[in-house]
Symmetry: C2
Subunit: 184 residues, 2 copies
């Protein structure tokens, strides 16, 4: 526990933070600062027991718009990954449903769910720290789910069945005919 | 508009609903009933203007636990797809972060984000109506995003950059050392 605290403090210490901030700014790079914040969030999240070791920030015009940490177990929500939490918070703050001109810094390579969310949010760029394979090594399913995506539908671990396709199309026809809809 | 209303009413009419319900039950199949509900939700969602033409229900032991509709534009949340909304609602209702022994009925084949959410939620089975390619034909990005997933990282439309990987690993080490953590 003490070693974990030391690791966390090395990121959280205001003095070290300021030194690092100046160093990074001298390098004309804000990227490290934003990633350091995502990493700090991931560390703090482990120590606080809120959820898994993941943190993310959404950045627009050189400023952090919103932050997110993994809250799957603490909020009973399997979709509450750091990136999804950060995206939802950023959209709520900006009152938008697409984050054009924004970038995301995440302490770990996005899992398929989060990568999908990033595409729907139309973020400009993804910066990440750990690889999905690193996450798999400590017990998370990221690589397994990526492998599932690469398989033909019929060979995946969760069975998939199509049914009532003709009836289901009715809603798509209704959407096409609807006036004044908001496309996304 | 009148045609859309007629389409919707054909699903919503209590008389027809009861007749269909009896027919389906005679066939010893509840599946059609649950899918019909997902389709009804998708139609109602277009008519109410809440969002896209998508609905989903989570089922456990032959009962609907929770429902979801697409609320992307109405709630400023790009992650508010029907499946994600239904999964979050089901987890909240059951106070769990995994939906073991549950199935999802969705009016359209899940997009990559929703498929990822389904894997994290550990649902047993997926039933769907429309294909992702049908959704693409009416302007949604499902197929585009699936194509992005199939490409090598460096060839995707959103640039991906790894950085500070050594520092990021600190949170993973902290997670490994943490006593009493809740794995998922």
């Amino acid at each position: 526990m003490k070693r974990m605290q030391n690791i966390a403090n090395s990121f959280r210490s205001p003095a070290l933070y300021c030194i690092r901030k100046r160093m990074w700014l001298r390098d004309n790079s804000m990227d490290n600062l934003f990633m350091a914040r995502a990493i700090q969030l991931s560390l703090d999240n482990v120590l606080s027991g809120q959820g898994g070791p993941f943190g993310a920030v959404v950045v627009k015009n050189g400023n952090i718009v919103a932050e997110g940490v993994n809250r799957v177990t603490s909020t009973s929500d399997p979709t509450a990954h750091a990136e999804v939490v950060a995206i939802r918070a950023a959209c709520a703050k900006l009152s938008v449903f697409q984050l054009n001109d924004c970038e995301i810094y995440t302490s770990c390579e996005p899992c398929p769910m989060c990568l999908g969310a990033i595409y729907w949010a139309r973020l400009d760029r993804i910066y990440f720290g750990n690889l999905a394979t690193d996450a798999s090594k400590i017990g998370f399913d990221d690589s397994f789910i990526y492998e599932q995506f690469a398989r033909p539908v019929g060979q995946r671990s969760i069975p998939v069945v199509q049914m009532m396709s003709e009836q289901a199309l009715a809603a798509f026809h209704a959407w096409q005919e609807k006036a004044g809809k908001i496309p996304y």
